[in-house]
């Protein structure tokens, strides 16, 4: 049980990592929900409003939270496994965190362009729907990472 034996000096890193990851998941859920609601709206104010809010949530909340999560992860990894000899669950973290960050960045760009086009009254279905799909894929990947970080499979 890591929780019982973790030195106090690791707690700051773990706090940053967990807080960043929780806010990141929250931002993805919020942005994804708004994008899905935007699909159901007409091409007028509703779709454009939800697309803009989703884009801002990803840009202002999700991106900084990803950095907090990732910096916290590297900080605690350096304390817990200073020699670099890491168990497989750390690998699951890397496999999800970094490609997930790239997909998140792509979704921000797509959501931003989509929101801009919708605000001008132009069609942006494929852009906003692609951004939604990416957000949901990233969210699913981070839920797998959450399982790996808590269950710590060998």
């Amino acid at each position: 049980m890591l929780a019982a034996i973790r030195p106090d000096s690791w707690n700051y890193a773990l706090f940053l990592h967990v807080l960043g990851a929780a806010v990141l998941v929250g931002a993805l859920v919020t942005a994804g929900s708004m994008q899905i609601l935007g699909w159901a709206r007409d091409r007028g104010g509703g779709a454009a409003m939800f697309a803009r809010l989703s884009f801002r949530t990803l840009l202002i909340v999700a991106i900084p939270a990803w950095f907090a999560m990732r910096i916290g992860a590297e900080w605690i990894r350096s304390k817990e496994f200073p020699s670099g000899d890491e168990p497989s669950w750390i690998g699951i973290g890397y496999v999800t965190a970094e490609p997930g960050g790239l997909l998140l960045l792509i979704s921000v760009v797509l959501a931003g362009i989509g929101a801009r086009r919708l605000a001008k009254g132009r069609g942006a279905d494929w852009l906003t729907r692609s951004a939604t799909l990416l957000v949901l894929v990233v969210l699913a990947a981070y839920l797998v990472a959450l399982w790996a970080m808590t269950a710590k499979p060998d």
Binding site: T30, S33, M49, W147, T150
Partner: protein, 159 residues
Amino acid sequence: MSRYDWLLFLHVASAFALVASLVLYTVLIAALWNRDVPSEAVRLFRVQRVGDVLVAVGSIGVLVFGIWLAIDVDGYEVWDGWVIAALVLWLVMGALGSRTGKLYNAARDRALALSRDGFDGSSPELRALLQDRRALWLHVAGIVTVVLLLIDMIFKPGA
């Protein structure tokens, strides 16, 4: 996976759902802040349903799986200081959330009523409800309480 692994996963996943609900409500409050047109507010409030599900699942999950963990894990007891602190913070969070919810639900209901009456212009009354400082500060206090809960869970003072 052992029972401990499952309990820890479900406890942490519930905490993530709780934080996710706070992120969603914060974005919603910010998005509603300068609105005064009922139909726009009603549209935005639709996303509140997702937050309501997350806060219910998250707050019940953290409590149930947290107490289960405290009973199940050797070395932890429900009467440990940091566990009692977490239970007190959970109660504070629930009380704050309930009061915040009542204020924002009143704003949502007013927007719905105005919209049903066919009014879709600028409503100073709706704006005042959406910019209620008391509701905002209660929400901020709820966020601070959840951050304190997270600090308590990670640092486990006295454990």
